[in-house]
């Protein structure tokens, strides 16, 4: 069940909102937790137990870190608690997400050495595990760093970890961002309307823009041969697909949260308007980039230990950031490419390589760099990415019928809409900072249009569910 699915919109959302608001305010956090577990259980019923286990473990670890149980010397106990939390969360992530990948690479090595290979263990990936383990882990680290107080109640903590709007695809919320809201939330009709408008904008991004772009990108990547024009069209389509898919989901998450009294952080700030890769990472998947900055880059020393160490830290962060998206070398290469660009910009004094160019050229070149990196991100293997990049360079054998999908009127119209929305329109956050009657009409019409079109589309989960 995803936010843009038939079941969520018409089968889950109305009764869930009714149940939530029919509960007395003091029980609504518990109601939210139960609804979140129901929502999550639909995606992967047995992994609810994993989510619950992680929650209990990190709640107890948080209490240990805070010194609630005095069975050892204070610092020792605190350190033990945080190490246990980080270890268990990373081990869980490793077991579910990276074990098969590690075995495949080990097999490659064993095969090269002429040794017998291992049977690769295939484990189903629990939906959203990359998001909720990062949240749970950051909770204990923040308590250890004395930047957050431990949660007083397991029910509240369970609500924080499982909060329906952001559970399966973020944004990654820090405990301190939401701690107060677990006890006290403001419910107003104006706020509910604001949330509904956010949700409508997000749904429209997903259904009207991301899905058609996904069809184009899928056609390009599935083709046996592409001309340069076809390859570029496919890559641009994927750049828009991933942006509108993920930012649309984030808008829906923020809207849904607001409809239920929660404020979630902003996850995108018009990333394709960035005029450097450094700027891009201030605007793209903000909750992940700030998480990596605070819990990885800074602990590694950040930029305080000299230039070389800074560059090394940047590379480590970007490689691991790439790997966070999935157990594939293409994600690592994607992270490496971004890391190299960040280092190049630092070498130039945190300025883009093309700093003297007019802004529109800087923005265009940054988009171009991001686009080339998306080819790595989208491709199933490094070899496939290489072949795709070769096609973009004009070394591919185009098949004319690929244009039947890439240049169909509906897809060209959706592409034009993406270009317009990306570079000429206000983002949801700016557009809805002030909900005017005009914006309300836009939201209403977009919602109705998205629902109507939704009935003609097949199941298409969010891209970030797989991460």
């Amino acid at each position: 069940m995803v936010f843009s699915s038939y079941l969520f919109l018409f089968g889950f959302l109305p009764p869930a909102l009714a149940a939530y608001y029919l509960c007395p305010p003091r029980h609504r956090t518990l109601a939210m937790t139960l609804l979140s577990y129901l929502f999550y259980g639909w995606a992967s019923p047995w992994f609810v137990l994993l989510l619950a286990g992680t929650t209990v473990f990190d709640y107890v670890a948080g209490l240990v870190v805070s010194g609630r149980f005095a069975w050892a010397a204070g610092d020792q106990q605190r350190r033990l608690g945080v190490v246990a939390s980080v270890t268990v969360n990373l081990a869980m992530l490793g077991a579910f997400k990276y074990l098969g990948f590690a075995q495949e690479n080990l097999n490659w090595l064993l095969d090269a050495l002429g040794r017998p290979t291992l049977d690769v263990i295939r484990v189903a990936l629990p939906v959203g595990i990359s998001f909720y383990t990062f949240q749970s882990m950051s909770y204990c680290i923040d308590i250890y760093r004395r930047r957050a107080q431990p949660c007083e109640s397991l029910a509240d903590f369970a609500c924080y970890v499982s909060l329906l709007p952001h559970l399966v695809a973020g944004p990654i919320v820090r405990y301190h961002q939401i701690a107060d809201q677990l006890h006290q939330r403001e419910y107003t009709w104006a706020r509910f309307n604001h949330g509904a408008a956010f949700f409508a904008f997000g749904l429209a991004k997903k259904v009207l823009l991301a899905n058609p772009m996904g069809e184009m990108a899928d056609a390009a990547w599935a083709a046996g041969g592409l001309s340069a024009a076809q390859a570029w069209l496919g890559a641009v389509a994927y750049a828009f697909q991933i942006y509108f898919d993920f930012s649309g989901y984030s808008d829906m998450a923020v809207g849904l949260g607001r409809m239920m009294g929660f404020e979630l952080p902003r996850n995108f700030e018009r990333p394709y308007l960035a005029d450097s890769i450094t700027d891009f990472w201030r605007r793209w998947h903000i909750s992940l980039s700030t998480w990596l900055r605070d819990y990885l880059y800074f602990p590694l020393g950040g930029n305080r230990r000299g230039a070389l160490r800074t560059y090394a830290n940047l590379v480590i962060v970007m490689l691991l950031g790439g790997l966070w998206h999935g157990a594939q070398w293409t994600f690592v290469a994607w992270g490496a490419l971004h890391g190299a660009a960040l280092i190049a910009e630092r070498l130039m004094g945190r300025q883009p390589l093309y700093q003297r160019a007019p802004r529109w050229i800087r923005v265009s070149l940054t988009f171009l760099l991001a686009l080339l990196a998306w080819v790595l991100f989208r491709s199933p293997t490094i070899g496939a990415a290489g072949a795709y990049l070769m096609a973009m360079a004009g070394w591919g054998q185009g098949r004319p019928l690929v244009d039947a999908v890439l240049r169909s009127p509906d897809h060209l119209l959706a592409l034009a809409a993406c270009l317009w929305v990306t570079w000429r329109c206000a983002d949801t956050w700016e557009a809805l900072a002030h909900l005017t009657p005009r914006r309300a009409w836009q939201a209403g019409l977009l919602f109705v249009a998205a629902v109507l079109v939704l009935f003609t589309q097949d199941y298409s989960p969010f891209l970030y569910f797989q991460f």
Binding site: F10, W42, A196, R399, P400, L401, D403, A404
Partner: protein, 360 residues
Amino acid sequence: MGADNQYSYRTEPGTRWVGGLLLAVCALVGLADAALRSWPAAPAFTGAGLRGYERALEIGSPCGKALRPPVQTLLSQSLGRGNSQTVVGAGGWLYYTTGLRHVVGPDVPLDTRPGGPLAAFASLRAALAERDIHLLVLSVPDKATLCPEPLTGRAADVPQRNPAVPRLWSMAADLGVEALDPTDLLWAERAGGVYLRTDTHWNPRGMALTAQAVADRLNHLGWLEAAPRTAYHAAPEVRVPWHGDLIRMLGLRDGAAWPAPESVTLTPVQDDQGRPWRPGVAPPLVVAGDSYSDAFAAQQAGFVPHLALRLGVQARWVDRAERLLTDDGALRGARVVLWQIAERRLTENQRWWPYFPAHR
């Protein structure tokens, strides 16, 4: 509110209906569907089971059934929008997505290991040879191969093929497999129409041209020379309205105003008593074929009766090649097996291909 959440927003009067609209639309559709739908069977308590149930709810939604046809018609007619199963071309031409994907997709796998088409052809040939039965493989090219113009808007000089397919037939020949690929024949004849506009399948003319090509090949090979003859006749042509399968795949209703209605002229086949053609009991020709072989069968005007007509022998149809060696009596009297496949199968699903071990 948390320290990082310094979000502020303002609302103006006249905007407070948005939340109500969202709730009303969602609740009304949900309630209407709950009241009107027939509920699917309870799902298995697994991720796949629940997703299947969700999909069944979505497809069976009465509101969806009511809204889908007009919305899809509007989108398809004005913007050429298809869906996951159907690609919309110019002039109301519809194409099966899987077929197009085969034509433009990755090369056909050319290895001979079990699980692929080459191993399937070679192993069936060997298994039939043990029974003194010959095998002829017939692949039917995709609609997008033969009718590409409505998809691209440009004239095409040559059939649009997956480039590996000719290589695959060459490898099949090296393995001793006799195969017929009618692409060039149908391409040369396409001006008169070889495919239906709104259907995945060939039209009666394309079917008849292919049946003649198969008959010519079998006559040339002489595999049916000693087979008992049965006389068949072509009955007078009948014209029937045709509701293409792609219209339904697109989510439209039969008889919709768009795409323009289509009709076909069929030539039913009769025996020498004037009775409608019927499959033979122990016929010398067995056709293992897919839906191409089944098209127009209800009117006794399909591929198998037309083969029987042209060859003057009895024939029968089985829907899956695997059944040839597993069903009792499937090959009784058979001298030739014609394995007809849609060419898209070569890349569609590799797990689809059977393997016929020797000495079964």
